[in-house]
Symmetry: C2
Subunit: 488 residues, 2 copies
């Protein structure tokens, strides 16, 4: 072939290659366009839409993965039946919460899809016989359903928090879902619960200034936080208004000081008479202490990592423990074998757990010793500092364990808190030993026999049969009407 | 130009390029050969050579970098003068160590090059007036100098450990150096101290099977460990034989159980009369609990990272805190800003430190309360469990802090230990409260005024002027003869 012919051939080949590249480029663009269509359909969802299935029509992948939160198979990591009875696991908790709902019933957490099922079935919400009855206030619904922002919009925040839990059972019918975190208008992340925005305000921050990455944690922080019901807000007296105790900061000592300053207590302990605090689930606060938070990792990065299906990259809405899904969560950053990563987490959990168990025993003993002191005629004045020690020690224990994930998120902070809790619990017992000696009993008060949940519940005087019967009646008579009313 | 001419030109260019590549290859090979020469000279070093400068003639880079351990500028991270007085920093330590040498004098660590200087100048080694005098045994030299393996070779291990510290002052004249870790024959890493090999044996392990990577930590573990002097070895009775308490394992509870089983104590506390344990510097044990150890990182990786000078890559023998050199230590793996990495470490240190300070206070109080109980006529029987609690609690505190680096190496393990130490210290105080009530004093024993080191030393009855005078006399009369004898 001549040089000329060769040059011509080269030109032709070049033209063909460039043409094919053009086709490829067009193809890529088309697929991108498809992806855009799949992610941003023209949607018509009402701003108050609480039915997750309606959202699911537009976002099938997100919806279908969210429905997987009903899958309890991974929970076997925690237990055999996926809903481990934590009072069975540690009957000490029954004594620690004597006089408070948690001593009746407390299970390991399951998926978001069970939110309503859980709160309706727990003995903690008791057996209401109709509106205005039962032990819990309406505020307890706040974190359970996208019907909450809808209802708040419809009747106002104060009105929502007002009244009994049973009053709004027919209104709250969709389990946690889309509208809790998403804006129906633009699908962006939104804060649907006023308490978080108000908590930020109390710290002098404006939540509307949060970045998208921060929002990927903050939507979770609407519920996974420490909170209390403030019944003394001027102009709203008597309404159990949901509030985060963040005015002094989000540290365990900050919140303790806050509660002490306003002399708040969740309940009075039925044995020691201590003015107790129940730590709820300060997950966001403890996560904020973590090295992951410092490196800019958000809740969603590990609990809802990206996933690809049919060429579509989307956020996996099967919210779960990252330990169930290390390849998409941990291993995106950590180049270690699954076994080794999970081994590290387990080791931290075991260390914190050992501390927690020992502290539980000290606290049980302190309550019982305080009970003995009252029995022997101790005065309020003699008991005051002791009860404050018990309050602070148990608060620290509870704060460390209540959010479940803390041993992963911030194991050292948990341990630090546990150390101080241990010191203070023993301080209470030291003062009690002196007081008991003064009252004529200078020998150890025996540790109660609370080997099982049943023994512990009997020890604190709970009539479990009655509670269960009330619940059964509620489930037979009331619960079906809620479902029915909501369907109509 | 014709096609033919062009082809010829191409051929010539190819030949030239290939020739130049050959030259380059040869050059590279030469440089490699030079490097081999620089690293593996034909050396003639006696197997007992203790003079670091002799080794330095063959390994100038390693030697010169090792000499930098005399540089105290980074120690300003800890203090202004590079040798912070830790008893000044926390006068509580004086009371915790009452009756033991550490209450006299205890400074922050400095570089390896100061090993002899330090031990000669500390008040802990007292003011010997000649052979056979002074408070410390010969065993105390064990970690201080490459003269130790030499002397052990020459006179035998038992003979080395025998006698007083002052007996061998003239023999030990070179500070920690080359022969402590290196084999003069092949420059490989070697275990020069029998205690580590024996410690491995006690655990059923054979240290000669250690990999090179393990050796990069084990040479450090010859000294940076927990140890005690066993005077009851059959056939060697009375010789303070250096031993690691590893038979049950390297955990803090394992060693505690070991010491309890053999009823060993380092000293009897002069106030509480508790049979105390002094944790030495369990650095290797706590490092073994670390995530770095789990990932196969060795001591040398961070404390002696690789360095390049004049095209030569070598191990930096300027052994120091990795925080003084994060770019070569931390940042080889961690892609984070120095400030952020050091911030993480500081945060962990601060958390552990807070726990340590609180525990120190409890322990001081426990010793003082126990002293009061003795004063009021407590019996041995009444005190027994209390003193064991004090022993265990202080052991755990000391174990957590004594190795200095533990808050970096294994902060969670430190905190876990501190939690248990706190619980046990308070348990002692609880029992003491009951005992004191029984003995007629049912009110708190005041915490002593130990605001300064001087006050604390006065409180425990130390005659510091006398100790200092003895030391001054030793430095004037004895120390110069050691230097002289060794030079001759």
């Amino acid at each position: 072939m001549s040089t000329k012919a060769r040059n011509w051939m080269l030109l032709i080949i070049t033209i063909v290659v460039v043409f094919l590249l053009g086709v490829l480029a067009s193809n890529i663009t088309n697929r991108k366009a498809e992806a855009r269509f799949a992610y941003m359909p023209k949607i018509e969802i009402d701003e108050n839409e609480a039915d997750n299935a309606v959202w699911g029509e537009y976002f099938p992948r997100e919806y279908q993965s969210f429905m997987q939160t009903l899958d309890t198979s991974f929970a076997s990591y925690n237990s055999k039946n996926g809903h481990k009875d934590l009072l069975d696991d540690s009957p000490r908790l029954v004594v620690l919460w004597a006089g408070y709902g948690f001593s009746k019933d407390y299970n390991a957490p399951v998926g978001h899809g069970y939110a309503l099922n859980d709160i309706q079935n727990t003995l903690r919400t008791g057996g209401p016989t109709g509106p205005g009855t039962g032990p819990m206030p309406s505020t307890c619904w706040t974190c359970k359903s996208p019907d909450v922002p809808r209802l708040m919009n419809e009747i106002g925040i104060d009105e929502f928090y007002k009244g009994k839990w049973a009053d709004k059972g027919h209104e709250i019918v969709n389990p946690i879902g889309c509208a809790d975190c998403h804006d129906a208008g633009n699908m962006g992340l939104r804060i649907s619960r006023p308490a978080l925005a108000e908590g930020f305000e109390a710290m002098g921050k404006d939540i509307s200034e949060a970045s998208h990455n921060e929002m990927r944690s903050l939507v979770c922080a609407q519920c996974h936080v420490e909170y209390y019901f403030d019944k003394k807000i001027p102009g709203k007296e008597g309404i159990p208004y949901l509030k985060f105790p963040w005015k002094n900061g989000m540290g365990v000592e900050d919140m303790e000081a806050y509660y002490d300053a306003i002399e708040f207590s969740d309940w009075t302990h039925s044995i020691s008479k201590a003015p107790m605090l129940k730590a709820q689930h300060p997950g966001y606060e403890l996560f904020s202490e973590s090295v992951h938070a410092k490196r800019g990792v958000s809740c969603a990065d590990c609990h809802m990592p990206y996933k690809t299906e049919g060429g579509q990259k989307f956020t996996d809405h099967h919210i779960q423990s990252p330990l169930a899904n290390p390849s998409n969560s941990c291993q995106v950053c950590h180049r270690e074998e699954t076994k080794s990563l999970i081994g590290d987490v387990t080791e931290r959990q075991v260390k914190n757990k050992t501390e927690a168990v020992e502290l539980e025993k000290l606290l049980v003993h302190a309550h019982v010793e305080a009970g003995k002191a009252w029995e022997l005629g101790a005065t309020e004045e003699q008991m005051k500092l002791i009860l404050m020690d018990i309050r602070h020690a148990q608060w620290r224990w509870d704060y460390s364990v209540a959010s479940h994930g803390a041993s992963f998120h911030a194991p050292l902070e948990v341990s630090r808190i546990m150390t101080s809790g241990t010191r203070i619990a023993q301080e209470a017992r030291l003062k009690l030993a002196r007081l008991l000696a003064e009252l004529g009993q200078n020998y150890p008060v025996p540790y109660p026999n609370i080997e099982t949940k049943a023994l512990a519940q009997e020890y604190i005087g709970l009539d479990m049969e009655k509670l269960k019967a009330e619940k059964a009646k509620f489930k037979k008579n009331i619960l079906p009407t809620w479902m029915k009313e909501s369907v109509e």
